[in-house]
Amino acid sequence: MRAKKLNRGVALVGAGMSRFGAFPADTTRDLFVQAFREMRASVDKGLDPRGIEAIYIGNYSSDLFEGQGHTAPLMADWIGLASRPATRVEDACASSGVALRQGILAIASGLYDMVLVGGIEKMTNLPTERVTDTLATAGDVLYEIPAGFTFPGFYAAIATAYMARYGASPESFMKVGLKNHENGALNPKAQFGATIRTMMDRRIASAKAKGRPMPTWEDEMAFLHDDNANPVIAWPMRLFDCSPISDGAAAALLVAEDLADSFSDVPIHIIGSGQASDCALHDRPDLTTIASARLAGEQAYQMAGVRPADIKIAEVHDCFTIAEIVATEDLGFFAPGEGWKAAEEGVTGRGGRRPINSSGGLKSKGHPVGASGIGQVVEIWHQMRGEAGERQLPNSVDLALTHNVGGTGQTCAVHIYERRR
C-alpha cells in the first residue's frame, strides 16, 4: 500500500477549553462558548470568526445525556456562525479525535482554508447508573452488555489478561493514577486539581473536624489499597483507576499551512494523522493490545516520517489506568509487556524520559467523552508553545502525539504535531 499523505499541509493556530468538571449550571452550549472564547484569545494575531468556513464537533451522546440531538448546528449558532456547515462526529470517546481528523481532511482536500474543530459532552445531569448505561451503548448492546459488562469491566478484563501475561499487578495501575493526579494538580482546567496526597489530607482533616475515626493510611499506596477510600469498581480496576464523569468542551482552529503565519507566531503543524477501527472485545485475538491504536499509530508515524523515539510528549487515552499502559506499548514507546515497568519506574512522569499525560490525562483532568480528544490537543498546544505554566516540561517540545480511543478500541485516532520555530 502506498504511503498516505495529505494533499496540503494543515496547521493548528489556536486551541482552548472550558474547565472540565461537574457544572450543574452549564449546558454544552455554555461550555462550548467558553472553549471557543479561549481558543479565539489564543490566536496570536487575532481571529475574525467569520473566516471559519466549516465546523466539526465531536459529541458522543448528547441525545441520552441531555435529551438533545443534532448538536453541531446548535454549537455553530451559539458562536455566531449559524450558516456554516456544521457536522457532528460520533465515535464514542474518540469523537473529537475523529472530528479533528475530519477537519484536517477537509483542509487538505482544498475545499476549505479555515476549519473549527471541537468536542462537547455534558454527562453529570444523569445519575451514575444511567451514565454507566449510556456509556455502555458504545459497546455491543446485543452481545456484550447483556452479560452485565460495564466499561470498567471491559478494561478490567484487559487488565486481568495483561497482568497474567506480563506480571504486572494492581500496584502498577495505581502508579499511573498517582502520576496523573500529580500532573493534574498543576492544571487549572483539571476536574481533580489535587494530588492523591492532598485528597488524603482533606479526608483526614474532614474526619478530624467531624470527630470521626481518623484514617491510618501510611502513604498513598495504603490509601489506594483501602477498600473504603478506593472501592473496587470492577476488579482489578478501583475507583482511582477510572476517569471521572465530566462536563466539558474544547475547540481548536485549523488553517491551511500557507496561511498559518498570518494567524500565529508559533503555529503547530499537524504532520501525521491515523485512524483505525476494530471489532468488539470478544472478537479480538489478543486483549493485551489495542489493534486499532497500533494501526492508527503506524499510519500517523508513516505520514509524519518520524519514529516513536522522536516523540517528546504524548497525551494518551487513559480512560482507565490500564489503558495508559497499553497505549504506551501500542504507540511503540515501550515494548509489549514493558509499559507497566516504565509506569512503576517513573519513566512516564513529567521529569521522566517519556512524559505521558502532562495534563493529568483523562484520569485527573476529566473525561467529558466527546471533548477529550480536542482536550488532548489543547495540552499539546500549550506544551509545544511553552505556555503550560507550572506543568511545562523542562525540555523543548518540538514533536508531540495525541492518542484518542473510542469504546474499548473499536475506534482510535492518532495525531502527530510539529513545532518548526
Binding site: 448505561d133 452479560a147 452485565g148 459488562f149 478484563a157 484487559i158 489478561a161 473496587v232 470492577a234 470478544h282
Partner: protein, 134 residues
C-alpha cells in the same frame, strides 16, 4: 431494549447458535452472515457445544441497572472450544474465584431483572465445568 429484539436473538441466547463460513470454515459467534475472516457470506447455522475456557475476566462490584441484585458478579471472555470468544457472566461459582484457563460450560439463566419495560431476559451464562464440581 424492545421485546422484538429479544425475540430475534432467541436462538443465539438460548442455544448458542452461530454460523459457519462455507468458504473458509470459520465458525462465527455472534452470527453476522458475513465471515470476518474472508468477507464472504456465512449463513450456514452452527450450534456451539457450549464448552470453553475463561480467557479473561473481571468481577463487577459497581453494577448497572438490572444487575445490581447479582453484584458482585464475575464476567468473562470465554473462548469456546470451537474457536470464537463470547462475552458472558459466570454463574454458580460458589466460593471459587474465576481463573484464566478455567474450564466452563454454558447454562441458561435469567440475565437481568425486570427492567422498565417488564421484560425478563434469559440467556447464556457459563459455570465451571460440571465434571470438576462432582
Amino acid at each position: 431494549m424492545e421485546l422484538t429484539r429479544h425475540w430475534r436473538l432467541h436462538n443465539q441466547r438460548y442455544s448458542l447458535v452461530g454460523e459457519q463460513c462455507d468458504r473458509c470454515g470459520a465458525r462465527l459467534f455472534p452470527p453476522r452472515d458475513v465471515c470476518p475472516e474472508c468477507a464472504e457470506p456465512a449463513q450456514e447455522l452452527f450450534t456451539f457445544s457450549g464448552r470453553g475456557q475463561v480467557y479473561s475476566y473481571s468481577t463487577v462490584y459497581s453494577a448497572p441497572e438490572g444487575y445490581q441484585e447479582y453484584a458482585p458478579y464475575s464476567v468473562a471472555l470465554v473462548q469456546l472450544e470451537e474457536g470464537p470468544m463470547v462475552t458472558a457472566q459466570l454463574t454458580d461459582l460458589g466460593d471459587d474465584k474465576p481463573e484464566i484457563g478455567m474450564p466452563v460450560e454454558m447454562v441458561t439463566r435469567r440475565l437481568r431483572a425486570d427492567g422498565d419495560q417488564g421484560v425478563i431476559v434469559y440467556g447464556y451464562k457459563f459455570r465451571k465445568h460440571v465434571k470438576d464440581i462432582i
